[in-house]
């Protein structure tokens, strides 16, 4: 089949970037990586790309394909051109990380964030004679995150990282979950405290982009959500993210629906005057436009707060839903 490629080229010496177009004949069965290697071997030896295993294990060949990060070795050209055989496949380096040359990114920020979360299991107490034994059921929940091949796809397309380089970002946060939730680790509380700081778990917008682009089913955002749940359970609530979840939940328990007025003061803190001042102009504009729901002016939990019809039945469901919580047995690693 004929394959049309439009590849972003970046020259590290001049800082210039442009697109090169290639048209090659290949077998129907080839992957995008095969096609790119064919270009490099037979059409243009100056094209730089990174690859190794060619079977979605090493995580070296992440790049943006038609705008989304993925492994080139896992993308079949026939699938990429299914809707339109004339489609020109656009290939670019990953986002959110500097480019060394063409399709090769500098992954230093990726690795430094991995180091930042201390991605090792750290047991306390005496070292076992033989090995740590953990029951299988304690590890099932960790299997998806153990599949991470550090390809960087989630980091490339993270929408928060685009505006804030300080964000620890999905890959390292998923790795943090891996260490924090492991029954052999004894630093859960310290880890969760650190992860609850600026740049950590509460800065994720829950946009699901990392879940979408991850080629190995790690679903980093879901791991970040599990870390949030763990942090709340551990009582680490002195931050806007935890307070936001708290006031949101309270609002539903109290009135069945969201009390929008109290979300901001409930999250940033009622007496956080400088922060509340920042919100005032916006609040006034909304008031002028008739967009402030003044019926919700009494905070959730206070007498007279806004409630939907049939709240007694909702309360019943809220109360009984506690029975749906999975029973978490205290699983600790033990000496074999």
């Amino acid at each position: 089949m004929k394959v049309k490629l439009k590849v972003k080229r970046s020259n590290p010496e001049t800082g210039d970037s442009s697109y090169s177009k290639y048209e090659i004949e290949t077998e129907n069965s080839v992957t995008l990586l095969d096609a790119l290697i064919q270009v490099r071997e037979y059409e243009d030896g100056t094209l730089a790309l990174r690859c190794s295993c060619r079977s979605a294990i090493c995580g070296s060949c992440s790049m943006r394909v038609d705008g989304r990060a993925r492994l080139a070795c896992r993308a079949k050209v026939i699938a990429l051109t299914r809707d339109n055989p004339e489609h020109e496949i656009v290939v670019e380096p990953m986002g959110n990380m500097p480019v060394i040359k063409d399709l090769v990114n500098d992954m230093e920020s990726f690795w430094s964030k991995m180091r930042q979360v201390d991605p090792y299991i750290k047991p306390e107490g005496p070292t076992p004679e033989a090995e740590f034994r953990v029951p299988n059921e304690a590890m099932i929940d960790l299997t998806h995150v153990m599949n991470c091949i550090m390809c960087g796809a989630c980091v490339s397309d993270c929408t928060v990282l685009e505006v804030d380089k300080n964000f620890i970002a999905p890959a390292a946060l998923a790795k943090a979950y891996r260490a924090t939730a492991d029954p052999r680790d004894d630093h859960e509380h310290d880890r969760l405290e650190k992860l609850s700081e600026y740049g950590g778990i509460w800065d994720c917008t829950r946009c699901n982009m990392c879940v979408e682009v991850c080629p190995k089913g790690v679903a980093p955002m879901n791991r970040i959500m599990q870390l949030r749940e763990m942090a709340l359970e551990a009582g680490i609530k002195g931050n806007a993210g935890a307070r936001h979840t708290g006031i949101f939940t309270k609002s539903i328990e109290d009135g069945g629906r969201l009390n929008e007025i109290w979300m901001v003061p409930g999250s940033v803190g009622m007496f956080n005057v400088p922060r509340m001042m920042k919100e005032m102009p916006g609040a006034l504009k909304m008031l002028r436009a008739g967009k402030l729901p003044i019926g919700q002016v009494i905070p959730p939990g206070f007498p007279g707060s806004h409630k939907m019809h049939g709240m007694d039945r909702v309360r019943n469901v809220v109360r009984k839903s506690a029975s749906l919580k999975p029973v978490k047995a205290e699983v600790k690693a033990h000496d074999a």
């Binding site: 509460w202 917008t205 982009m209 539903i252 969201l258 939907m308 839903s321």
Partner: protein
């Protein structure tokens, strides 16, 4: 033929975005949709409740599904976030029958029961799949010719694609563009259309949140957009209500009206703008309406 739906308006259309509620009800008349409001249903949890208590979210959403099933109608929402959470819970309950049985045991107190299989559709999906673009085109009284509109989807109606019916409806990620074209407007193709508006972290990291909103608005405006249109009122809050703040944070010269999807449809169907509260946005829509001379706010 009249299409009937159990209608879940969501919290925001009943709170900070009343214009969305009005526009939906008004446009439903034009489109011959019969909306039966689920006034006993609760918030979906928006993913926030789920951070603390996913099980409570499951039970409350299952209750909403059961209420819709009791009415014998598919469920229609007008919020990308509601759609995403409802699809997520639906997926979980379908895959875990034992868990569903426990949930149903709770609902039984009210005589409710949820059986997997309820159709749950955002208004955008209803437009394309149930009403059809041809029908919409035939109803257009005022083609929005010459108007340049950027789509803004909202994350949860797009991702994760594995739970959003993309196998059966592979074009769902292109519906907004298709609808914009169906009403005669021109699509502005920009990178931000499928990214995050930043709203979920507005109270947690204001700078980041506003940069996200501001950057997308700026990009679309730079490409000549007259407006953005969104099926998500949470995106609308960050893109419209927070736009002045986003301008201040990003230093971008932005001034771009943001339409709720039903408002755009309504404009094309000849509904007077004031009946959809287009004069109740934070970013003025006057400039936009001036481009449609006959339709200026009366």
């Amino acid at each position: 033929m009249t299409l009937k739906y159990a209608f879940w308006p969501g919290c925001v259309s009943k709170g900070a975005a009343p214009e969305l509620y009005l526009a939906t009800k008004r446009v439903a008349q034009e489109l011959d949709l019969e909306l039966h409001e689920l006034d006993q249903a609760t918030c979906t949890g928006a993913g926030v409740l789920q951070e603390q208590n996913p099980e409570m979210g499951d039970a409350l959403n299952a209750r909403t599904f059961a209420l819709a099933q009791q009415m014998g109608m598919p469920l229609m929402n007008i919020c990308s976030t509601c759609q995403g959470i409802e699809s997520m819970v639906q997926d979980k309950l379908t895959k875990r029958p034992e868990y569903l049985a426990k949930v149903n045991a709770i609902l039984a107190d009210e005589g409710l029961h949820y059986t997997p299989g309820l159709e749950i559709k955002n208004f955008l999906w209803v437009l394309v799949e149930d009403i059809g673009l041809d029908k919409i085109k035939s109803l257009v009284k005022r083609p929005l010719t010459g108007l340049r509109v950027g789509p803004f989807y909202g994350c949860y109606i797009l991702r994760p694609s594995s739970i959003l019916g993309k196998e059966e409806h592979p074009d769902r990620d292109h519906y907004l563009e298709m609808v914009i074209e169906a009403v005669g407007a021109t699509v502005v193709d920009y990178e931000g259309s499928k990214k995050c508006c930043g709203f979920p972290i507005l109270t947690v990291n204001r700078e980041n949140s506003l940069k996200q909103a501001g950057n997308h608005i700026h990009e679309a405006q730079d490409l000549g957009a007259d407006a953005l249109v969104s099926p998500c009122p949470l995106c609308h809050l960050n893109l419209d209500a927070q736009q002045p703040a986003a301008k201040e944070v990003t230093k971008h010269e932005i001034d771009l009206p943001i339409l709720h999807l039903p408002q755009m449809i309504g404009l094309a169907l000849g509904v007077p703008p004031n009946e959809m509260r287009l004069d109740h946005h934070v970013v003025s829509t006057k400039k936009l309406l001036a481009k449609l001379p006959e339709m200026a706010v009366r």
